[in-house]
Structure formats: C-alpha cells, structure tokens
Amino acid sequence: MNTHAKPWQGIVLIALVLAALPFAVGLGMGNAWVRVLDFALLYIMLALGLNIVVGFAGLLDLGYIAFYAIGAYLYALLASPHFGLHWPTWAILPLGALVSGLFGILLGAPTLRLRGDYLAIVTLGFGEIVRIFLNNLNSPVNITNGPQGIARIDPISIAGVPLSKPLEFLGLALPGVYLYYYLFVLLALVIIFISLRLEDSRIGRAWVAIREDEVAAKTCGINVRNVKLLAFAMGASFGGVAGGLFAGFQEFVSPESFSLMESVMVLCMVVLGGMGHIPGVILGGLLLAVLPEVLRHGAAPVQKLLFGKVLIDPESLRMLLFGLTLILVMLYRPAGLWPSATRKRELSA
C-alpha cells in the first residue's frame, strides 16, 4: 500500500463516519439523540473558541457564554417577529461573528492589565452583566423581551430551504435534526480547521508565549496587548457563530440559557479534555455534552433495576455523577483526558 494514500483514507473514513453517525444514532436510539449530537457540536464550537482564550493565550475567562448569548440574541432580533425583521442566515452568522468579536475586544480591553484570578472574576462579572441586561432590557424600550425570551425565531435556512422541516432526499425524509447535524458538522469542521491553522502559526505561538511567560514574550517583541485582544476577539467570534446557530436551531432564546453555569461548563470541557490541545478539547466538548444526557436517561432505569424503585431524583443524580466525574478525572488526569502529544511524550520519557 503506498503511503500517500493514507491521509486520504483517513479523511474519507472520518467523512463516512460523520455522515453515517446521525443514522446510527437516530435509528439505534431515536431522534432525540441526534438532537443531543447537534448540541454537542455547538458545545464543541464553543469549547474551541474558549480554548483560544484559555488554552492558547492562558487568559482565564469565566464569562465566555456572553458571546454565545450575543450571537444568539443577534440572530433572534434580526430574524423573528419581535422586530419584524427576517434577515437571511448567511448574513446574520458572519455579522454575529463580527459583533461578538468586537464585544470580545471591548470586554477584553479593560482587563489587559489583570492577571489570573482577577481576570477570571472580571470576565465572570462581564458575563453576568450581559445576562442581566438581556433579562431586563424589556423596559422602558422592549429590546430583548426580558425573561420570557424571544420566540418564533426563523429557523436556519439554506438556499431558501428551512432546516426545521424534513427534507425529501432519495425517497428518504431527513428530519430537521439531521439537517442541522450536517450543517453543524460542517461549521464545526471549519472551526476546527481554523483552530488548527492558528495553533500552528506565528499568531498561535505568540498566544502560547504570553501564556507561558508574558514578560519574556514582551521582550521577544510581541505586542502583548494586541495579541491578547486578538485572542479575545477570535474566541468570541466562534462563540458568536455558535450562538447564532443555537438561536436558529432552537427557534427560541431566553437569558436562562446563558447563565454562569454554562460558562463554567464550557470551561470544564476545555480543561477536562486537555487545555490547549485541539483533539482533547473536542473530546471534552463531546463528552460533557453527551454525558449529562446519558445520565439523564440512564439514572431512572438503572435505579429501578438495582433497587426496584427510583430512590434519587434522576435530575439530581445526573448532576451528582457529573460533579463526581469532574473531580475524578482531574484527580487522575490533571492535565486533562487527552493532553498534547509533546506533553505525553515528555512525561513518559
């Protein structure tokens, strides 16, 4: 077998697996699980965005979900009966990336002098401020519709075909969750691609350099301010795109979806997967998005099986196990489940 064919074989294999996955999941376990996959993909996009800020540049951001919120509300305001606007998807998503990126710079700029945990609490504050504004900007002028959120958002549509409706394809009716899956996979791949390219570049090295030693990075000629703002902007723009997709997919947004716990969740994905290591972060996003669902569905039946009745509220049990997982993984793999190869190689050497 000639070696040149190998990467292609890999790519074809991955493409086939990704294409077949929703069918395997959907037919095996029901379409609800395809929906879980869709969400997992959104989380992967978010985790990759946060990875640029936390993993590469080493800036602990606890308010990252704000950018997801901004992207989502932008979509909601521009494509729903709320303002009677119905902009096309392809116009909103790039705008979402741009606006979130600008917010990234805006929120990042005042924090540049802060380090470590101070930065964490300030970004956390920003995240909460954004959420509180979303919650309250319904009076005196109704912009966000407050805690009720914005409903009846236009579904994402491509070439005039809304993804919310089943699509007849080769005599097969593909449900909306499948269509969204393919769109999300595509965009996740784009984001993965961008992340990989950035990591292996002059900019990526500059990010890691300021993470490792800001003073040394400065004396190497890196303009730390600009490079940090760039990290905030890039990370935020990924979040903005994911937010837009979320709004179109759910057809509903409310401030509840953008709580601090969500920021924490995304951070857990990044750290638990393997900070700064893209495959690890993807794994982290996938696991932490799917695990709670598995626990949600498994918690009641397993208890019935073991004790003959449901002893503990499944919702509670699922969060309990989730918390335990975070603790155990970190105790046994402090560098994450899948840390970068250099680190592993070094550890075993």
Binding site: V54, L60, P110, T111, R113, L114, R115, G116, D117, Y118, A120, I121, V122, L124, G125, F126, E128, I129, I132, F133, N135, N136, S139, P140, E214, V215, L260, V264, L267, C268, V271, L272, M275, I312, D313, S316, L317, M319, L320, F322, G323, L324, T325, L326, I327, M330, L331, P334, A335
Partner: protein, 307 residues
C-alpha cells in the same frame, strides 16, 4: 435622607455577611493561591444544617435565640469537617498539578454538594422561623432590627477574633509564614499541610455562621443559596485585594453597601431606565472599575512583576 441611611444599614448587614464569607476565600487564596469555588456551598450546608437543628429545638419549646445557638453549635463542626474533607479530597492531591485542575475539581465539589443538599433537603425553600428578636428601632428616619444589629456585632467580633488569631498567636504566625513561602516555613518546622487544613477549617466555621446569618436575615434557606452568595463574597475578596484579610472585610462591607445603595438609587440615577434588577450589574461594575484602576484590589499589594 431616610432611604440613604436605610440603605446604609441594610448594606452594612449584608456586607458583614459577605465579609465573613470573603474571609474564607481570601485565607485559602493567601496560603495556596487557589480560589476555593466550593466555599459558597459550605455556607449553604452550614445554613441548612443549622436549620435542621433549630426547627426541632424550637418545636420542643426552647427559647428562640437558644435554639438558634444550638443550630449554630451543630453547624460549625459540620462545616469544619466539610472544609477539611474538601481540601483533602479535591485540592491536596493537586498541589503540583496545572493551575486550572483544582479549579475544575472545586467546581465538581460545588456541584456534588449542591446535589447532595438537594437530595437531603429537597428542592423547596425552607423558611427560617422568626425566632430572633425582630424589634424595629428607628434611627434618623431609618429602621433597623435587632437581628441586623446582632448580625453586624457578631460578624465584627468574629473578624476581630480572626485578626487576633492570625496576627498574635503562634498558629497565626505559622499561617503567615506558610502564606509567605511554604518551603521556608517548612524548613522552620511548620507543617504546611496542617496549616492548610486549619485554614480551610477556620474559613468553614466562619462560613457556617454566615450561612445562619443569611438564612435569618432573609428568612429562607435552600440548596441553591451558596452559589450566588459565594460569588458575591469572592467578588468582595477581590475588590479588597485577595489574600489580604483586612481587604476582604473592607471589600465585603463596601460591596454590601454599594449593592444596597445601588438597589435604592439606580432607578433615580438612570432616570427610571434601570430598575433594582440591575443591582448585581452595579456590584460587578464597581468591581471592574476598581480593578481597572487598582489591578490588585483596594488593599492588595501592588505587584510589580520582577523581571
């Protein structure tokens, strides 16, 4: 200006509680450079444990304040034990791990404690029986209850006690030495592990008392109360300059007053545009502004990076 004075009183009460909790954050941070994200849950467990003791005691006919004292007497050791276990399980194995690893275990512990509390005490709000003297006193047009006065006094006494402990006793000296440099403290015969455990235990005791205060002040307690309270207290610690005890006290009281004033006046300030729902925005906004001008908090040491 009766609203003004009223908001100051309310803020002082709230601020004393924040300060007690903030001390727990700041002590741990001072010694280990770690944000103990699970600290808010210790407050919650303290409050619910106390309540579980207080209710039967009161029902048995014990006078209100005595029942409350009984509750606190049980809540403190429970919280101390909890603090001890948290450090042992979630932080000690990770002393030399990457910086964010203990943050994630802390989040894990926080989730686990919340869920355990929910399993034990349920989802519902528990009302705190009106056992404490609620006599209302008038002061320059503002009202203050005995409970508020008690909270401020007890919190103040505990803070003074802590300052004495840290600044005067042998144990305090060992704590300060460990915070300064664990290796050197170790060489001088200080058992750093013991000091760290003690720090968690002391912080947890303060947290338990703060938990009872919150429950008494608002009249309710529930499994979810620790998170936002912890967040506020951590904000207060950062505001004052994390790692600095006096800073945590100052930050706590300031944050309490800022929040109360913010809630009272934000409507007037913005011409009715923003209501008291923006109270939290106000708190974070002040924090951000302070940190922009004093990146290490109000009383934190100015860190000029040694190159």
């Amino acid at each position: 200006m009766d609203t003004f004075l009223q908001q100051i009183f309310n803020g002082l009460t709230l601020g004393s509680i924040y300060a007690l909790v903030a001390l727990g954050y700041t002590m741990v941070y001072g010694i280990m450079g770690l944000v103990n994200f699970a600290h808010g849950e210790v407050v919650m467990i303290g409050a619910l444990t106390a309540l579980a003791v207080i209710k039967p005691l009161a029902a048995a006919g014990l006078p209100g304040p005595l029942a409350v004292l009984g509750g606190i007497a049980v809540a403190i050791p429970v919280a101390m034990l909890l603090g001890f276990c948290i450090e042992r399980i979630a932080y000690r194995p990770l002393r030399n791990a990457p910086r964010l690893a203990p943050l994630i275990t802390a989040i894990g512990v926080s989730i686990v404690l919340q869920q355990l509390a929910m399993i034990i005490w349920g989802r519902n709000y528990h009302s705190f029986p009106p056992l404490m003297p609620a006599t209302v006193r008038e002061f320059g047009g503002a009202q203050i209850t005995d409970l508020q006065i008690i909270i401020v006094i007890v919190a103040g006494a505990m803070m003074v006690g802590l300052l004495l402990l840290v600044n005067v006793t042998r144990l305090g000296r060992a704590m300060r030495a460990t915070a300064e440099n664990p290796q050197i403290a170790g060489l001088m015969g200080v058992d750093a592990n013991r000091i760290i455990s003690l720090t968690f235990v002391i912080g947890s005791a303060l947290a338990a008392v703060a938990g009872v205060m919150v429950a008494a002040n608002y009249g309710i307690a529930h499994y979810n109360m620790g998170f936002i309270l912890g967040l506020k207290a951590f904000t207060a610690a950062v505001l004052g300059g994390i790692g600095n005890l006096a800073g945590a006290m100052l930050g706590g009281i300031l944050l309490g007053i800022i929040e109360s004033l913010g809630a009272g006046y934000i409507g007037d300030l913005t011409g009715g545009f923003m209501g008291s729902d923006y109270q939290d925005v106000f708190a974070f906004f002040v924090l951000i502004v302070v940190l922009i001008f004093r990146p290490s908090g109000l009383m934190g040491e100015k860190v000029s990076e040694r190159a």
